[in-house]
Symmetry: C2
Subunit: 94 residues, 2 copies
């Protein structure tokens, strides 16, 4: 892996290496959800969740579409789900 690739990969990993962001991803695993639902699902403040969502969108982990007043987020990079399972199965027995 060359340095540039390493930086890209590190960037993607950093994008999800956060407890709340992991939970957001998990919550979006099966289907898209609007911000409202995501906030409920992970249980924080709206503005914080919005920041996290935006950050992950910037890094290409999530994508979104607006439908009227609501904005629906979904997982743009399916590998993060695999990744989540991968690392999850390791951490369980710790």
């Amino acid at each position: 892996m060359n340095k540039k690739t390493a930086e890209k990969v590190a960037n993607t990993l950093k994008a999800i290496a956060h407890p709340v962001r992991l939970r957001i991803i998990e919550c979006l695993e099966n289907d898209e959800k609007c911000v409202n639902k995501i906030v409920e699902c992970v249980g924080g403040k709206q503005s914080i969740t919005s920041q996290q969502l935006n950050m992950m969108k910037d890094k290409g982990v999530l994508a979104c579409r607006r439908d009227g007043v609501k904005v629906y987020y979904r997982i743009a990079n399916p590998n993060v789900i695999k990744l989540l399972h991968c690392i999850g199965s390791h951490c369980k027995n710790k």
Copy 2:
């Protein structure tokens, strides 16, 4: 995933979410290596590499053994390799 698990997973991810640390892991993919070799392999200063190695050891990603004057590091958590491949295959085509 509950909050505690999310924190553990985030911790492991943070441990590898760094360009140099990713390259270290890659360099240890097939066999253990002494610090010297690792420094050569990733091309930084010895003390920095040592810090990274220690950090990853602390977080359970790596393990090491001393043999005389040399210290050999190896991957302690095989899932990080899978993880690397997972995310690597995504980032390639970007």
